[in-house]
Symmetry: C2
Subunit: 184 residues, 2 copies
């Protein structure tokens, strides 16, 4: 007999999760070019209970079939807003008292594994090759990076977002004793 969780098990958990309040966790997509990355980040945001995504600059917005194919429709479950200027997202978040941290390798960026993430929090993800906009870097409250162990300089932006959101959620769960509704 299979030990894998059934679709019915998943449905029960998904219903519980949909009724739970979303975390005070936000993403700012600063000129993400690729539809596949935007779709991937929506799926990821749903999986980590992100409250809202700001789609800034050239970042494409739903509805687009190329986004929906990768997001598996997560743009229907995660709130989003399009803004021409990524700096405006930082201003809006700061106005609500939300610290803004950029995922970027700079002269002061700290490892995500050596950073204590504040709660609430907004994480900025930058352009696939250019990274986070300089203006946004200067407006934000700090930078974090993922330690690299190989020949490449960076991870794909969607994967990097996943690694970072995982660490944020790990810290918040262990700090609050907040349970894992999809776990044991």
């Amino acid at each position: 007999m299979s030990r894998k969780r059934t679709l019915d098990d998943h449905r029960v958990h998904a219903t519980e999760r949909e009724q739970a309040p979303r975390e005070h966790l936000y993403l700012v997509l600063d000129n993400i070019r690729s539809l596949a990355n935007v779709g991937g980040i929506f799926r990821l945001a749903d999986g980590f209970g992100v409250r809202k995504i700001f789609l800034c600059g050239i970042t494409p917005s739903p509805p687009r079939p190329e986004i929906a194919k990768i997001s598996l429709g997560a743009e229907d479950t995660v709130e989003y807003e399009s803004l021409a200027d990524p700096a405006k997202a930082v201003w809006l978040l700061h106005d609500q008292g939300v610290p803004v941290i950029c995922l970027e390798q700079t002269d002061r960026s700290a490892s995500i594994f050596e950073t204590t993430f504040p709660r609430p929090l907004a994480l900025v993800l930058g352009h696939e090759t250019e990274g986070v906009d300089e203006k946004v870097l200067h407006l934000s409250d700090g930078e974090v990076e993922i330690p690299m162990f190989g020949s490449k300089h960076s991870h794909n932006v969607t994967t990097a977002a996943g690694i970072t959101l995982g660490e944020i959620r790990r810290q918040w769960s262990s700090a609050s004793g907040y349970g894992f509704p999809g776990g044991q």
Copy 2:
């Protein structure tokens, strides 16, 4: 002036990292169908210093332009071996004393954030929709899962691999005091 790290900075770090020994960390790709996922996992494996990838069953092998486009050529820096039967990868790893853990949602899977990962370790990643092969599940030493907080049941396999490898590397680094060569 920009605070972003320059390409020259990256080159110095990459040279240091290439001279460092790879970790005793292995991936088993059990019937991964998509060329994009295989490419993405190669890039990820390079970034986390994975020693070897076993490409099993229907998993496509390099050289393939569709893999190289996503891996950014990481198949040149990470060792790999193709095996028709994924169970053989488990036997080979067990022969070398390497515990094998599957990333799969089962009736006994523990959250990756509540698991102490052994070192050395091999992580099995399963088919995009079917998950890990039943035979491999029964041969392996346990299952881990990523806690889910939204309406979807799972993450994309490449993203899920990144989240899990991040947590493994975090634990190993904090346990050993092993530094982050790409960080501060």
